[in-house]
Symmetry: C2
Subunit: 568 residues, 2 copies
């Protein structure tokens, strides 16, 4: 059974993970605040991702402005094509996604244009879902937030709808920084914005959200990755767009052309590892290949990591081979030279066919102009004269016909040390808010109204809680000392001395704290404390001096038994 | 001598700290990209700040949306009062800050209104600095970026000009999360936006920038902080707005009312500690109190941390006691109850004077209406009847005069357990980009064209570089192993095997890497490597197995001598 989103969002609100933003002013649909626990959880997820990509794979991290000039999105296509259709109620003024209102009335409402969709809604008698009023005709609405930079007329700018463009436009900078080698990878973690017409589904479809995006710039003919060899025999559950869903080894999938290339396969695998390590349930995630009609025309291949959550199967990550599309678009629009230089192992001899003037024949015919005619001839593309008996050149605005005897087509050989190429891009793009929500969804358990978040130690916002059995007799001072020693070791801890121990455990279980340490009267006698593990509710006693080490081990995945041996 | 900003920005661009953003499209004034080294340096600064505030002082971290509804800024005052004046050239269309053009023409151009400033510019014959054209009259320009949320008419919204408001509007959430106690502190780290008319000075005045802001909500009568006692005898160089600049102990400054209260003094001290630890030069920073005319009318006190950098003395941090202003503004505008509840130690008896009906006298006069007259009497404010011979009450729309014999003024005692109060706020607000720039400015050294950034280990983007003397004979493999062991220990490392060792040292000195490890032929024989310290250029040999530990110690401030003893 799927997790009820309202129940989860209610826990998130009550315990400080997520709050509807600007609530005292009636809120702003499609925006959420991250409370103290949500902020910590989000940071833990982002930090681990950074560890995988920046430390593990040596991607370079950039941080670009959110406000970007219109030209960037003219090139990327967002200015012209990043839109949805909406209808407005003529009575109450509410707006709705036009294709959402047509759900169930047509097999693919998203494929219709304004007129077709308008006719469909009219024919089916669709009214305003809020007040029953008449609806306007569908209109296109660009999903980028628009603003203006500078005083006076100002300059049109947009809030970025993705972090990716900041990395594409910086290809040359990154390429130089990486000493002009391919492949070179870049990442960016940050906010992005989409002015959704009617945001729904909590933090799944936000108007302001966070992305972790990676752009791997590759040689078009060499789409592999150094560590692919270490993982190629690992198997993943794949849902390809042809044939049945099946479990395949990566090397098999690449060999059978189910996954387009080795680099793409590697980052699908890395995404799987990330997902499992942060606590998504292996049984509730899958990699689904885009259907051919879903895929962008330029994409060589595209896979989504989907999670089964309260809202159904939901895309968390997209991993696409985007070919040269993005970089080429910015080359075309900006005129900048965003190419890599491939140096050949050995200089190569290139053959080029050219028009070669015949000076002996030119002189008598063109006299003083012969030299300029010869120059003009040698600049003509071969195709314009080949197979013709003569050529036409332009001298001082005058067209001169040059007989075939005055030139010949010949072949020139040249030594070149390399060539320019437009890099291809593999883009793993992660939606942070959706990932965070899915981690909570998969971690949530409830038994007889007792809620427990089984968050992994890696991501849990609080790693350990420290309790004195009673807030007196010096137990509180000992507990505070332990709390401080844990905090100083860089471990996020929580001190609590109010209410029964059972209630304190319950409070920590509800926010996913992996373990609790209790100071009791024995602590004063023998210096030991109780460590309780959340998931098993089992306890061991250890020396208070080893608490930081024990918590680090436990949240890193060690067993309670292993912890008790630290004691000795 | 001050550091030339152009020289520093040129290093920043060349080595991947900062790049003018969206450069291939002609850029967007007032925005910068953080390259790989800039992003890492910025994160190190932010992480250390978080360690001080969130771990050290137990502030709660929030993360709120950047796009916020207009109502928030109506309350904060930004919608109406956050503006500058500009003039536009009638010929070339360029815009300029009107008060900037009046610099030197008036002792305080910022104090003039549109008309006065317009007259001044006209009288002095000021023309367009770009083309010499005629200038328009000055106009007010709101510095918030405006946008619209939702399709159709949409809803006016702004990009936040500071992160603070998201914390103020969440006071109740935070107060509940902290178990309804004062003081409670909140922080937010994130982007903020100001649509500057003519941004100048590199990353000092950006249109899109990063802030680290803390809001400490306090009891109005108890402005202290637990750890103040640990630092009160520390002395700081202060520039108060009255009297001479002087070095004072914090307790002295508080006692003499130079600093308004203990909590403010503590956060001034914490800001000092932060500044020194990230590498600002003690001789080039100061705390300057706002002049009385600079201070907001509601502010009880305000101090800036200023740094002496290439642009002159520049504000990096503002630390203000803002009284109840912000929270009160949101209470007034939203109607929400953003108060704290002060529970008295003991319930207190409150005396209240009331109008008490005399039933014996009312009955005979008012008969069947006597009960309702009595109720109406008891609701009358005492002031309306006191000293008068009679009272007037309204029954069924009819005014009835009630003789003085029918009531008396008496005193009622009530037990109350506490009272509501609007918290006061102390706000330390840090500008990340300016801080980062100042760290670079203070770390920059140049001797005979040899550039070295003396960055502290705490913030250096690369902590250690690992070099094989030659990229052959297995030295490269050993070096790569060491590089990987350091990376796995969570230390940011850089591997480099190209060019002479001297050139590799120089490259690392230029980006502030505190130490370099070199693998040579002796390494193969005895397993030792050379560690070179950047600032002293001195070297020691240590076992390759202890490199991670040694680097951690060295970047944490240990001496090279201490490092060599790890060896034993």
């Amino acid at each position: 059974m799927r997790m009820d989103p309202q129940e989860l969002l209610s826990l998130c609100k009550r315990r400080g993970f997520l709050w509807p933003a600007y609530d005292i002013y009636g809120g702003l649909a499609g925006t959420y605040d991250y409370g103290p626990l949500g902020t910590a959880l989000k940071r833990n997820i982002e930090d681990y991702w950074r560890e995988l990509y920046v430390v593990g794979e040596e991607f370079l991290e950039l941080s670009c402005p959110i406000v970007a000039p219109e030209a960037v999105f003219k090139a990327s296509g967002h200015a012209d094509a990043f839109s949805d259709m909406y209808v407005e109620c003529t009575k109450c003024g509410e707006t709705f996604r036009a294709d959402h209102l047509a759900e169930g009335l047509h097999e693919n409402p998203a494929s219709l244009d304004e007129k077709q969709l308008g006719k469909l809604l009219r024919d089916k008698g669709v009214k305003c879902p809020a007040c029953g009023g008449e609806l306007s005709e569908p209109r296109r609405f660009n999903l980028m937030f628009k603003t203006s930079v500078g005083a006076g007329k100002g300059k049109v700018a947009y809030l970025r709808p993705e972090t990716a463009q900041g990395m594409f436009v910086n290809f040359s900078q990154v390429y130089r920084y990486g000493r002009e080698k391919l492949p070179v990878g870049v990442v960016q973690i940050g906010r992005a914005f989409r002015n959704e017409i009617s945001p729904r589904q909590g933090v799944i479809r936000l108007r302001e959200f966070s992305q972790m995006e990676a752009e791997l710039f590759l040689h078009p003919d060499n789409k592999t990755w150094p560590r692919y060899k270490n993982v190629k025999s690992e198997a993943l559950d794949l849902v390809p767009n042809k044939g049945e869903p099946r479990r395949m080894k990566l090397e098999e999938a690449v060999h059978d052309k189910v996954i387009a290339n080795e680099a793409l396969a590697y980052f699908i695998w890395l995404t799987y590892r990330f997902a499992i390590d942060i606590g998504l349930s292996p049984a509730k995630i899958r990699f689904r290949q885009h259907l051919e009609k879903e895929m962008a025309h330029y994409a060589a291949d595209c896979w989504d990591l989907e999670a089964d959550i309260g809202y159904g199967w939901t895309e968390l990550v997209g991993i696409a081979d985007r070919g040269s599309y993005d970089v080429q678009a910015h080359i075309s629009h900006s005129g900048a030279d965003l190419t890599a230089f491939e140096k050949f192992e050995e200089p190569r001899e290139i053959e080029e066919r050219i028009v070669r003037p015949n000076f002996g024949a030119l002189g008598p015919i063109f006299k003083g102009k012969a030299k300029r005619v010869a120059e003009a001839l040698s600049k003509l593309p071969v195709g314009t004269v080949e197979g013709k008996g003569s050529a036409v050149v332009d001298i001082d605005g005058q067209s001169l016909e040059v007989p075939g005897s005055c030139f010949e087509i010949s072949t020139r050989k040249e030594k070149v040390s390399g060539r320019k190429l437009v890099p291809h891009v593999i883009e793993p793009s992660y939606g942070v808010d959706r990932i965070l929500y899915s981690v909570l969804d998969h971690a949530y358990t409830k038994k007889d109204d007792y809620i427990m978040l089984k968050l992994k130690g890696l991501v849990a916002p609080i790693k350990v809680a420290v309790f004195p059995l009673m807030a007196k007799d010096g137990l509180d001072l000992i507990a505070m000392d332990i709390y401080e020693s844990v905090s100083k070791a860089g471990i996020t801890a929580y001190y609590d001395d109010s209410g029964s121990i059972g209630r304190r455990y319950a409070r920590m279980d509800e926010v996913g704290t992996p373990c609790c340490v209790t100071v009791d009267y024995d602590t004063k006698a023998d210096g030991t404390v109780t460590v309780r593990e959340r998931d098993s509710a089992e306890q061991v006693r250890i020396k208070k001096s080893v608490v930081p080490e024990a918590v680090r081990a436990l949240t890193g995945g060690a067993t309670l038994k292993a912890i008790s041996s630290i004691n000795g």
